[in-house]
Symmetry: C2
């Protein structure tokens, strides 16, 4: 995969215009959101700048199949390492996709934004967010199925209950207008998903919201509300636009707090759990790595400096033990 200039026009040019114009609207939305989020975080950091790398995906037959934009921040005042990535890609449905993912259809299109931010100060939480959209086509190019997914979650190293309430409260208030059942369902899904099951029930952090396979017009066990396509798009935007208001006030409140080498040690131990989750359990990471995704863009999510100690246990009744307890016992924060 080589670095090339990437543009929505380029991708849609490869595919031809969509029948209903929706994939261009979605791709346009996430590329604008990427810039907004990068500009805001950069201005908060005050030192480091996001890089801008554009890459192209090439199909097995050598044909262009879209690409993406990887934006990385490293060594900032606040942000030790982070990435805000978009990809707008398409391709032929392959046998392994049919077999392993139960995907039908002739061609597929996927476009999403994914971000992970690892601050240096152990009192500032790590965060992750992602919003994605998928279309499947029959040989005539008609959409035969489409779905949305997304969410945002917080991984603190020290628990500040007011921060957890603030973060969850933002996403609850974004979701409530679309149905009061949504936040509890997607909060619970997040707790279950970002979980190091090989350590018993131990969440990566204190959760947030997570949802997948939201198909317009359908409800399901984990989908309490049937959206129209336009409602689903509006819902995605409402949730995504809460990311900055949910995360930034926490960064601003905690970034100046003095910390010790012991605080950093614990941060690096917990970052080890972050690595375990992403490499052992995260479907998005493993799917990307096993389907010829751009490895460096996928693995930008890994924390910069990490420790793996044998059987590390925090002291009883310590702030470290309090964080671990919150990871092991999900709470209602909003």
């Amino acid at each position: 995969m080589e670095t090339q200039t990437f543009s929505i026009a380029g991708v849609t040019g490869q595919m031809g215009p969509s029948i209903d114009g929706f994939r261009e609207r979605w791709a346009g939305y996430i590329l604008t959101l990427q810039n907004t989020i990068c500009d805001t975080l950069q201005s908060t950091d005050g030192k480091a700048h996001f890089t801008d790398e554009q890459w192209a995906r090439t199909g097995p037959d050598g044909k262009a199949e879209g690409g993406g934009r990887t934006r990385i921040i490293v060594g900032g005042n606040v942000f030790e390492k982070g990435g805000v990535n978009t990809s707008v890609v398409h391709g032929q449905v392959t046998e392994p996709m049919r077999r392993q993912l139960g995907i039908n259809g002739d061609r597929w299109f996927a476009a999403g934004i994914s971000l992970v931010i690892h601050p240096g100060n152990p009192f500032v939480p790590t965060t992750h967010a992602n919003w994605r959209y998928f279309e499947l086509y029959d040989p005539s190019g008609t959409v035969i199925r489409r779905w949305f997914g997304g969410g945002a979650d917080l991984t603190p190293y020290y628990l500040f209950e007011e921060d957890a309430r603030h973060f969850h409260g933002c996403f609850k208030s974004a979701m409530d207008p679309y149905g009061k059942e949504l936040y509890p369902a997607y909060k619970n899904w997040c707790d279950q998903y970002f979980n190091n099951a090989h350590r018993g029930f131990e969440m990566r952090g204190i959760g947030g919201v997570f949802y997948d396979h939201v198909v317009p017009g359908e409800t399901g066990e984990q989908h309490p509300v049937a959206f129209t396509l336009e409602e689903a798009f509006a819902f995605q935007q409402a949730v995504a636009e809460q990311f900055i208001p949910a995360y930034l006030p926490i960064v601003e409140k905690r970034a100046g707090q003095a910390y010790t080498a012991q605080n950093t040690y614990w941060q690096q131990i917990r970052r080890g759990r972050y690595v375990e989750f992403n490499l052992i359990h995260d479907r998005g990471t493993l799917f990307g790595l096993k389907t010829n995704g751009r490895t460096e863009s996928i693995l930008m999510s890994l924390p910069p400096q990490v420790r793996f100690d044998y059987n590390y246990q925090p002291e009883k009744n310590s702030p470290e033990a309090a964080l671990l307890d919150a990871c092991r016992h999900p709470r209602d924060w909003a």
Copy 2:
């Protein structure tokens, strides 16, 4: 899983004596080997001591199903973190084992020794080795299938060709008496197995030997020689007893070499690849984590301090680039 006193007599007491006495011989062998290896490494280190933790496995019905002995070294003069573990466990063949592993039979027995050593000095390579044995029984307790597996591999951070030749040469000379085809076959298997395929072809290190499913009386695509049971046992011992002569002279030669912060930085980047391999690809790790293995004993393999940088590239023609080249292009070392 609770820590309890563990003994071969305890395990065989739970199971009753074996019909042919072989599982007791194998278990006795690996427990003795564990002590020999720990004593030798400890004496080389001169500072840190191996801990000794014994744990018991409990089956789904609450019955005792063997256990293991986890021996960890941390913060030594030479060894920053390492583990030399044994486990001697047994259980009922479950539906997931039948489905996912194609295992038939009524009960199973598995006993192995597994070690990973991470030295502090970046000029001293990391090493891993493992020897294991598996039996399947019909309801009368008769062995219906049994196999061996094992190997040892080297993960240097800087390439010293003479060290690579020495390490490979030891295992070649251990294997040659059992058939000249063995070393080339198992060397190649090692290169293919310890491979971060999500980075193209990039080995974890410079290889060694690896073999699995060596069934007495059988040959196969990857098994050039049909051993009797006694020959297979003798082969395992011959290979295992080369571990100390293969690794220790390298440690002794390199441990005193002065190094810089830049050398450590590169070591931590490469340790990141070690984590990637173990958590994404290693069948033993993933099988253990997903079948209620003892998580801390399994994950003792992870390096103590690790870096994940976005798209880190060593300088052209540097010693770091030379190591990476050796990982990408397997060579004949022996």
